[in-house]
């Protein structure tokens, strides 16, 4: 790794935490573009700290409704029955209360009754937001993202003789190297990046709200102009129709699948930043479980799929026209990240 000075490290650190001033942010961006060590430092920092995202694993990220209801019930119930002086006493008692690891039977009973009462009292005030409802909301937001991207694709095709966004590439390129700065490594996401770079769609719509991308640094116009691809996989959680020959990348007049939530087969392999150091993915051989997996973005219940006619549908399975699996290439059982679709009609959404 090229050596970075202490000051350069501090600037990158400030930039990572979005605490850099304008001048420092500009210095950081220049370092990231020109200094191999800076990019390595930033990636390592990001990779180490992104482990913090695991704190939310299998936990309810949102506040349970009963807790809010209980909190408000405690405040208002006491206030309305006993007046402000009593409330003050209760508040002081609340603050002076020792934390205990076990509650008594009577306390538990009293709290249970209080919660039950609070649920009745406040059911008219609060809209119950269940986990399932949140999942549906994320699904709808994801659908909206894909609809916006579909509009961008249609507008792009209208401006480019009916062609899909596509950069120069060739069959056999590693389509999974999202964010690679090497010119010969044409990730399949570079095609879609054109929509961002040329102003058809904002970068934020490429992240499904149902996924776990964690904190992302907002890209400004200067960064977008200088990048040839999404910075890394966290900035694009969708998979796009594999383009192996840009000359053949026409926006189909019939309805074919163009984009979907993350292809689950390659998801795990692409979460390791050091994968960019390799030329090929460690071989992935399909098994029965992999052939049934849905994208993880929506609790593995299915995936939103965007079609070339601009429509977006949530599919509980992976098969489209004539049993075509959108996440695999026909006749291909082992993948190293350089495969191509068997034909133009074979839908293969990657990475």
């Amino acid at each position: 790794m090229d050596t970075l000075s202490k000051r350069e490290q501090d600037i990158l650190l400030d930039y990572y935490f979005e605490c850099a001033d304008q001048q420092e942010a500009e210095t950081a961006r220049q370092l990231l573009q020109t200094h191999q060590g800076a990019m390595e430092f930033y990636n390592r920092l990001n990779h180490s700290l992104s482990a913090l995202e695991q704190l939310d694993h299998q936990a309810h990220a949102n506040c349970p409704d009963h807790l809010v209801e209980n909190t408000l019930a405690k405040l208002y119930a006491h206030e309305s029955s006993s007046g402000p002086e009593r409330l003050e006493q209760l508040l002081q008692a609340e603050n002076g209360k020792l934390v205990t690891t076990r509650t008594s039977f009577w306390r538990s009973l009293a709290e249970t009754v209080a919660v039950a009462a609070a649920v009745v009292i406040f059911s008219g005030l609060f809209v119950p937001v269940t986990r399932s409802m949140r999942a549906h909301a994320w699904q709808a937001a994801c659908e909206s993202n894909l609809s916006k991207i579909a509009q961008g694709v249609t507008q792009y095709a209208g401006d480019h003789q009916g062609m899909l966004p596509a950069v120069a590439t060739k069959a056999g390129n590693p389509w999974w190297k999202v964010g690679s700065t090497q010119p010969e490594n044409q990730s399949n996401t570079r095609h879609v990046w054109l929509l961002v770079k040329q102003g058809y769609v904002g970068p934020e719509v490429f992240v499904c709200p149902g996924g776990k991308s964690g904190k992302l640094i907002k890209l400004d116009n200067a960064q977008i102009a200088n990048l040839a691809d999404f910075p890394n996989r966290r900035y694009i959680t969708y998979s796009f129709k594999l383009i192996s020959d840009p000359n053949m990348a026409l926006l189909s007049t019939t309805s074919t699948a163009l984009m979907s939530d993350t292809n689950p087969i390659f998801e795990a392999s692409l979460k390791t930043p050091d994968c960019l150091l390799k030329n090929e993915l460690d071989p992935i051989t399909l098994n029965a479980a992999m052939l049934k997996m849905n994208s993880s973005s929506h609790r593995s219940k299915g995936q939103n799929v965007m079609f070339s006619d601009g429509s977006v549908k949530f599919l509980s399975g992976r098969l489209v026209d004539e049993n075509d699996d959108i996440f695999t290439a026909k006749g291909q059982d082992t993948y190293t990240g350089t495969e191509t679709a068997s034909s133009e009609k074979d839908v293969f959404l990657v990475p």
Binding site: R44, C63, V68
Partner: protein, 208 residues
């Protein structure tokens, strides 16, 4: 686009100012709206900080109790979010101290910046750990991260969570924690090194 964002930010700030004025005047609906607006952020912060449901719920309730109690003295033009997180962090630290007294076990002593170098730690990361594929391995990894965070000194844990998840500026964190900006930076630096070293040792032990 930027204009719209600024416009939206200003609008959100204006909405919040209106809510705060109404809350100070004793409007319960405004108070409930403030609770609804911040409940998820605060809950997530406390859950990461305390990782024990009972402590999380008590600190959550006490934070909003304090907000409610402070309505007569609250400065209406002060931004609410940093103030709420300051209270929540205090409540979380209190909860840890109370637990420490009860269990008579040193859970998280305070730690001040050391001469550890980020560069050293970053250089030691010759390879990245493999992200586990199956759910069981993910759960195991998550538990290890929780353990590392749980074992961190409270002041390092606090600043790491405030900076990483809540994205407060150095200035805001300095105000919230009543420490100079230089101390914020060095403490955050130490927290990163602390976390990274332990995370690295966990992953290189072959446990994941």
């Amino acid at each position: 686009m930027k204009t719209n964002i600024n416009h939206n930010n200003h609008k959100a700030q204006a909405d919040e100012q209106d809510l705060l004025h109404r809350y100070v005047a004793g409007d319960k609906e405004a108070f409930q709206e403030l609770v609804n607006r911040y409940k998820d952020q605060l809950y997530a912060f406390l859950r990461r900080f305390l990782n024990q449901q009972q402590l999380v719920e008590e600190a959550f309730q006490e934070t909003f109790l304090q907000l409610y109690r402070s309505r007569k003295t609250f400065e209406k033009d002060r931004p609410l979010r940093p103030w709420l997180f300051t209270i929540a962090a205090n409540k979380a630290r209190d909860a840890l101290r109370k637990q420490q007294r009860q269990e008579t076990v040193s859970i998280s002593a305070m730690a001040e910046p050391t001469d550890l170098s980020i560069d050293d730690v970053m250089n030691s990361l010759k390879s990245y750990e493999i992200t586990p594929y199956d759910e069981a391995a993910k759960a195991e990894q998550a538990e290890k991260v929780r353990q590392i965070i749980g074992d961190m000194p409270a002041n390092l844990r606090e600043i790491l969570l405030l900076a990483y998840f809540e994205q407060f500026s150095y200035k805001q964190m300095a105000d919230m924690l009543s420490i100079p900006i230089g101390t914020v930076k060095s403490r955050l630096h130490t927290a990163i090194v602390h976390f990274t070293k332990r995370w690295k040792s966990t992953t290189t032990d072959g446990n994941i």
